[in-house]
Structure formats: C-alpha cells, structure tokens
C-alpha cells in the first residue's frame, strides 16, 4: 500500500484527550435523546404534573410542611429531582444496552477512544439529557407552584451532581446488563424505590426514627435535600455535608465505571 502513495498519510495525532472523538460520542447520544424529544421530555413532564396534581388534591397542597413552605413547594423540587435521576439513568444505561445488543458497541470500542473518554462520552451526554429534562419539568412546575430560588448555586450544583451520579450509575448498569430484562429489573428494583423513597414527598420527621437510616443511606435523599434547599432555603441537615457525600459518591462511581470499561467487563471477549 505504502508504495502506491507518494507520501504515506501521516498518522493522526492526538493530544492527551481525543477531543473530537469524545465530542462525536457525546453528540451522537444527545442527538439520540432529542430525536425522541416528545417522548423523552413529554413523558416525564406529564408524569411529574400528575404527581403534583395528585398530591395537591389528595393531601391538600396548600398546607404548610415547614414554616413558610407549602406542601406543593416542598414536593415540587423532589419531583424535578426524581425525573432527572430517572432520565440520567435511562439515557446512559439504555443506550449502552442498545449498543451492546445491536453489536454497535464494537464501533465505539475500536475507535481511538480511551476508556475514560468512552465513559465520559456516555455519562456526560446522559447528564445533559437529564438536565434538559429537569429544566423542562421545573418550568412546568413553576407554572403551578410558586418557586422562589434561594440559592441558584445550590440548585445548579445539586442538579449537576445528581445527574452525573446517576449517569455513572446508569453506565455501570448498562455494562452489567446482558438483556433488556436486566435493565428493567435495575430500573424497577433500584431506581424507582430510590426515587420514591427519597423524602421527595414528605419530611423525614414523618418516618419512624428506627427507619430513618433507610432514607439517610439513599443518595437521592441527599440530592433532594440539597436541591430543595436551593429553592426554600431550608434543609433538615447540613447542606455542605450533603454536597460532600454526593461528590464522593459520584467520584467513586466514575472510577468504577472507568475501571469496568478499562478491563473490558462484558465488553471484550
């Protein structure tokens, strides 16, 4: 081959990070998300509004859960958070399972992408989709519930942390799942309970003291706490500690998913 070409093409040079490759993977997954925009954004939007309506009608949204905070104001941030973690999980895990089952994962593994870049491509695109979903749900909620923002930094920071945390978690589940059945088992038995039993709908005081640990070990509980603090300015625990827990957990899952891709867990024969 080399004899025929006057000058052999010079091999492509990459810096420390293959930015173009990373961007391609990220961009592909975000495009995938928006291709089904109505379903991807409309589904969570409708179910969030239903939750709000049902709690409002069944429990009386106007009554105060804490001084100056109505029940609706208390649960709205929780509902936004739940739809975000669900979207982050789904957009990382489902795409990896889909790519694996369709055999397309080979195209990604054989591209000049380092394991860290593959993980970043999937997780960052899932987190982006989650933040878009969260923004849409939040906008819809604010039409019905008065949501003053106490601390924009807390709102953004906790949204980002939760989106990333569950994007990495989704990446790990996507790598682990062999079939769609595995994926939906993880969704039903982990994501759904973590989201619904996160204290999004009631203050921790409503729970008997001997069961509170179930909530305290749930990362979504901390994410909801911090996120809600960003709106109401009230938290049941220390917000800084909550942020630290989430950051550490996100880092741990990021490292784990990086290791899994690096050793080729269920990816390479």
């Amino acid at each position: 081959m080399a004899e025929q070409a006057a000058t052999a093409p010079t091999p492509r040079r990459f810096g420390a990070v293959n930015w173009r490759g990373l961007w391609s993977l990220y961009h592909r997954n975000v495009v995938r998300f928006f291709r089904f925009g109505i379903e991807q954004l409309g589904g969570p939007a409708v179910s969030s509004l239903l939750f709000l309506a049902v709690f409002d009608l069944a429990l009386g949204g106007g009554r105060e859960t804490a001084p100056g905070v109505t029940l609706s104001q208390f649960i709205a941030p929780g509902i936004v958070m739940i739809s975000m973690i669900h979207s982050a999980f789904e957009n990382a895990a489902a795409y990896i399972v889909y790519d694996k089952l369709d055999g397309m994962i080979g195209d990604i593994l054989s591209a000049p992408l380092k394991p860290a870049e593959i993980v970043a491509g999937f997780a960052l695109s899932a987190a982006t989709s989650a933040l878009c979903t969260g923004a849409v749900v939040l906008l819809l909620m604010s039409l019905f519930v008065e949501l003053p923002v106490h601390s924009p930094a807390a709102v953004l920071g906790f949204a980002l942390a939760a989106a990333l945390l569950f994007a990495f978690f989704g990446t790990i589940v996507g790598l682990w799942a062999d079939r769609w059945d595995n994926y939906s088992a993880a969704e039903t038995f982990l994501i759904l309970p973590l989201g619904l039993l996160s204290g999004a709908f009631f203050p921790l005081q409503a729970v008997a003291p001997e069961f509170r640990w179930i909530f305290e070990i749930n990362p979504v509980f901390h994410a909801v706490e911090g996120f809600r603090y960003g709106f109401t300015g009230q938290a049941q625990g220390a917000v800084a500690g909550t942020a630290a827990i989430l950051a550490l957990l996100t880092l741990a899952l990021a490292l784990l998913s990086w290791r899994l891709v690096a050793v080729g867990y269920k990816l390479k024969a």
Binding site: F36, S47, L50, V54, D181, F201, A206
Partner: protein, 275 residues
C-alpha cells in the same frame, strides 16, 4: 381447494379439510396461550414491577400523610387508597399487554402469523383481549395480596370487586388493541400511554375522593368510565361509592360493548393491519 394440491397425485384420497365448528376452540386457545406466555416469560417487568410500584405508592402516601387519623369517605385514607392503587395497576397492565403485543407484532412483521390462521375477527379479539385481561387480573391479585400485608383490606362486596375488576381489565385490553392497531410506530403507542392512559388512571379518583374536586370537575368525572371503574371497585372493599353504582355499571357495560364492536370491526376491515 385442497384437491389442487400436489399431494393429491400421490395419495388416492386427498386429506379431508379440517372441520371447524362455529367457534375455532383450538385456535382461540392457542392464541390466548401465546398472549399469556408472552408476558409470563418476562414476569419481572410485567408482574413484579407493577406490584413494587403499587407498594411504593402506598408507602409514600402513608408517610406523606404523617401517620393515621386522616379519613376519606368514612374510612382511613390508606384503606381508601389501596383499592385505587390495585385498580390503577390492573388498568395500566391490561392496556400495556394488548397494545405492546400488537405493536411489536406489527413492527416485527409476525402479525401475519396471527392474521393468517383460520381465526375469525371475533376470535382474534377474544384471544388477544383474553391475554390482557389475564395479566390485569393477575397483577391486581398480586398487588392486592402485597397490600393486604400492610393494609387491612376487607371485602365488603366480592361480586362488585369481581365485576369491576373484570370489566376494567376488559375495557383497557380492548383500548390497548385499538391503540395497538392504530399505532404505526412505537412512539405512537407510548404517547397514548403517557398522555391518555396514565393521566386518566391517575386522575380518576385513585388517590382522592372526587368530592375534593371543584363542582364542574365533579360533574365531568361522572362521564369518565375510569372513574366508575375505580369507584365501583373501591365500593367492593369499603362499602362506599362516590357516584351511583347503577349508573356506573351501565356506563361500564355500554362502553365495553362499544369497544368490542369497534375492535371487532377493525379486525374485519383490516384497518392498519392489512394493506
């Protein structure tokens, strides 16, 4: 027609064509069995998931209320809520079963294997709806048993429970068939699920007595068949109905007869099924 077949040249007497009576029982049973096995083979998604979801809803509402004491329709709120949640699970799963079965068959092209056999339109409707009804009732039973562990559920009127459970499963199964036949892509049917079935099953009195609704809305609720299904089913447990049971039973039966007719007609004309 069978005399034209190649086999006639080899055998003296051509095989006599199979005789099918007024109802093709074996074909109907086979189709029904296929529909049931389809959801049983992924029972984590089709049976376990709805039970877990129902129990989680029960838990968060119990906790959000901050303990006992709150009464709705003369009973503890949790006793009021549990039948609603069972009914919600039943309806969503009956719909999911028939709609997904038809859409997947159409997309994968194996719908012809259902349309080709000597099954009449009525048998197709009955076989496919039967699968959805079975899933709905199994989910309801499992969810009911799961909740019974936590909530004292008493049967006030078993006949009402049975009547409304079967009719709800039938109504949603038929709606699922209609939706599945109409849908041309998967997002069509998930749009119907997300924007019509889920909202209706949430907002038709599952979680609250319609007395909490504003006057105009309460009036509209009486035209909503889902409301009558949930209300009548709940009456079977707690002995109190928000609406009139007689009106409810008539509305439910009329809607089901109409849906049978529409579904049957769709199979007869081959709407969105045959080119």
């Amino acid at each position: 027609m069978s005399t034209d077949m190649d086999s006639s040249s080899f055998s003296r007497t051509p095989p006599s064509p199979r005789m099918i009576g007024a109802i093709h029982w074996r074909g109907l049973w086979t189709l029904y069995l296929k529909e049931v096995r389809r959801f049983l083979s992924v029972s984590t998604q089709t049976l376990m998931a709805p039970v877990v979801t129902g129990l989680l809803f029960l838990a968060i509402f119990a906790l959000a209320l901050g303990g006992a004491g709150r009464q709705t329709a003369g009973v503890d709120y949790i006793a009021f809520l549990a039948p609603g949640l069972i009914m919600m699970a039943l309806m969503q799963n009956a719909f999911a079963n028939t709609s997904s079965s038809i859409v997947i068959s159409k997309l994968q092209g194996n719908i012809v294997d259902v349309l080709m056999p000597p099954l009449s339109s009525a048998e197709l409707t009955l076989g496919i709806a039967g699968g959805g009804i079975t899933r709905g009732l199994i989910v309801a039973l499992a969810a009911g048993l799961g909740m019974w562990v936590f909530v004292p559920l008493r049967l006030h009127d078993p006949l009402a429970v049975l009547f409304y459970a079967v009719n709800a499963a039938m109504m949603l199964s038929l709606l699922g068939i209609i939706g599945g036949i109409w849908a041309e892509r998967f997002d069509h049917i998930s749009a119907v699920t997300n924007f019509i079935i889920t909202p209706l099953s949430f907002l038709s009195g599952t979680f609250y007595s319609i007395e909490r609704l504003p006057e105009d809305w309460r009036f509209i609720a009486h035209f909503n068949p889902f409301f009558h299904l949930i209300d009548g089913f709940r009456y079977g447990f707690i002995g109190h109905a928000d609406g009139s049971l007689a009106v409810g039973a008539v509305v439910v039966l009329v809607v089901n007869i109409l849906l049978w007719a529409v579904t049957h007609r769709m199979f007869v004309t081959g709407y969105h099924l045959r080119p």
